[in-house]
């Protein structure tokens, strides 16, 4: 049992030099949980991945742990389906990220433009999905994708379109739709907050010069909130690489989502059903490295562009 000792500051402060000790006691709980649940898992994953368990003899003697070096990584990298998962989330991200950012930025600019009536209600409507847990959202859209209950499929059939939203070619976009629906609202709010904190006088001046709302939105406001746009894009891209909840839930209603459909799903499948946590750790390290590289590249871009933008 891990006991988290609360940071109790000694009463006799002067005698114990508590004034100097105090900050350490305040940060101690965080440092402890950080070491335990951020640093330790990474260390464990890296070391775990270097071993493999082999059952000895007929399997009666229990598993024997042997050092295998980078063999688990080699196994993961030879797994075509695991690698294809990366390609799949890349394709998914190439479409889902721009679509969601366009919707979020478009709505944020509209809400900021004073053109929209009943703004508070509409903002509430766009933001509401964020309060729905991701897996419940997937479950909910699952009902919209199943022909037997779906009002959407039924409406399309009424129009003479026979849509199968869970077919091999469409299921990726059905999954993407769930995360657009879930996340557009929060990104809209972030961009809207950024827009609202811009100095209003600039726009008054532009308006007096005869600039229309559209021109102002595209050539004035959007460049000014570039840092916020890039930051939301960054976190969306990171989220894309981690894709798990939506496809994992939709898996139960379509045969076209395999258990290793995304890298995270493959890690989960290998660690639980596959029973090979060491291979799973190696895969998690690989996914972490890919995410880190992508993040660093994007942070680079973000930093250089925000310097230009500001």
């Amino acid at each position: 049992m891990v006991a988290l000792a609360p940071a109790v500051v000694p009463r006799r402060r002067r005698a114990l030099g508590g004034g100097r000790l105090a900050p350490y006691l305040f940060v101690a709980p965080f440092v402890v949980v950080f070491l335990l649940f951020m640093v330790a898992p990474i260390v464990i994953a890296v070391s775990n991945a270097m071993y493999s368990s082999r059952s000895s003899g007929l399997g009666f003697g229990g598993a024997e742990t042997v050092f295998v070096g980078l063999q688990n990584y080699a196994t993961a990298l030879r797994d075509g389906d695991f690698l294809f998962g990366f390609a799949r989330v890349a394709l998914y991200g190439l479409v889902q990220v721009p679509v969601m950012m366009l919707i979020a930025a478009g709505l944020a600019l509209l809400f900021d433009s004073a053109l929209v009536r009943a703004r508070r209600f509409f903002q509430f409507a766009v933001f509401l999905p964020y309060a729905v847990p991701g897996v419940i959202a997937a479950l909910l859209w699952g009902f919209f994708y199943q022909p037997s209950v779906s009002p959407l499929v039924q409406a399309l059939q009424g129009l003479g379109v026979d849509a199968d939203l869970l077919a091999p070619g469409t299921v990726l976009w059905s999954v993407a739709n769930v995360s657009v629906w879930s996340n557009a609202g929060i990104n809209m709010i972030i961009l809207f907050s950024a827009l609202q904190s811009l100095p209003r006088d600039t726009f008054e001046a532009a308006r007096l010069d005869g600039a229309g709302e559209l021109r102002m939105a595209l050539s004035l406001k959007l460049p000014m909130i570039a840092p916020a746009v890039l930051l939301t894009t960054l976190s969306t891209v990171i989220g894309t690489l981690q894709l798990f909840n939506e496809p994992q839930v939709l898996q139960s209603i379509t045969p076209h989502i395999a258990s290793d459909w995304t890298p995270n799903m493959a890690i989960y499948a290998v660690s639980t059903l596959g029973g090979d946590t060491r291979l799973g750790s190696a895969m998690a390290v690989l996914l972490g490295l890919v995410t880190l590289v992508v993040s660093l590249v994007l942070v680079r871009v973000t930093n250089s562009s925000s310097r230009e933008g500001l």
Partner: protein
């Protein structure tokens, strides 16, 4: 990079609510000059978008009032006969009322988890803002750097660690990992910088108040509105959490709503009666949170403006 982010955070300090409200009023009065046609067009675009965002939730609420067979026989957005109370009764009776056990678990994970996490973040952020101590810069660098480590990559190794510690299949197994929340520390640090004047801490110290008392009675109080933001984020994070509980918990009695309901959804292929229960259960788990969250939007908005990033 560290200095960069720091500066950006500081410049993006949260504006007081009243200030923002006045600003948007200016926008609205400016809007009078815009032609009526554009206003109508923009409102129609936004209304169409709202239909997309609202429709699934509206469908969920309507579907929860239908009987199991009406779910398949009536049009999705039309009410059937009123079966909501029957459905809730069936939901409560199923498997000895396991749904409410899951709901209770979700509340425990979210409430206890978010309260403890907020306290840990508050103490750390306060110390970073108020004290100058060795290792402070290193801690700030570590906090900022770790924002790039996504939580779900850590789930599998965390699961391995919890098994080693014997904490899998326990409440602590889910509560403890949630305590490590660097984004919350970043927010708390920003809030403390803006809200807790060092002079006040000095004055309290001269008056003979201990460091802990100063933190509780001055620090926590002045940071309180910012802390609500952290509380909301962590609450929602735990409420929505799926991958870690899925890995860590095998005992049905310990599962949160997300894992329980998706389990039902999967099982409904062979047990059709579970389909309507999944619908009702989802509805009951979404609506209260949505209401609370929307009611408290002032707080998370302040957090977003202050953070400029999210965890």
């Amino acid at each position: 990079m560290t200095a960069d982010v720091q500066d950006r955070e500081r410049s993006a300090a949260p504006a007081p609510a009243g200030f923002r409200a006045r600003r948007s009023a200016t926008v609205l009065s400016g809007g009078d000059r815009v032609s009526r046609g554009w206003t109508t067009a923009a409102t129609i675009v936004v209304a169409l978008a709202s239909i997309y965002f609202l429709a699934p939730v509206v469908w969920l609420v309507i579907a929860a009032t239908k009987s199991s067979s009406e779910l398949f026989t009536t049009p999705g957005f039309a009410f059937g006969d009123w079966h909501l109370w029957d459905n809730v009764r069936a939901l409560s009776a199923y498997d000895g009322g396991i749904f409410w056990r899951w709901a209770l678990n979700s509340v425990i994970y979210s409430v206890v988890g978010s309260a403890l996490t907020t306290l840990v973040c508050a103490a750390t952020g306060y110390a970073l803002a108020v004290y100058r101590f060795r290792g402070r810069k290193a801690l700030i660098a570590v906090v900022l750097g770790s924002l790039l480590v996504p939580g779900t990559v850590l789930a599998q190794p965390t699961y391995v660690l919890l098994v080693d510690l014997g904490l899998n299949n326990t409440y602590w197994g889910l509560l403890l990992p949630a305590l490590s929340y660097p984004f919350g520390v970043l927010l708390a640090w920003i809030f403390a910088q803006n809200a807790v004047p060092t002079e006040l801490v000095e004055a309290a110290r001269l008056d003979g108040a201990g460091e802990l008392r100063t933190f509780v009675s001055i620090g926590l109080r002045l940071m309180s509105s910012g802390l609500v933001t952290i509380l909301l984020f962590t609450f929602l994070g735990s409420w929505n959490s799926y991958l870690l509980p899925l890995l860590v918990l095998t005992d049905v009695e310990l599962m949160p709503l997300t894992v329980g309901l998706t389990g039902w959804n999967q099982a409904s292929i062979t047990i059709p009666s579970l389909q309507i229960l999944t619908v009702v259960g989802s509805m009951l788990s979404v609506v209260p949170i949505a209401v609370v969250f929307v009611a408290l939007q002032r707080f998370w908005r302040a957090g977003l403006t202050a953070g400029g990033v999210r965890g």
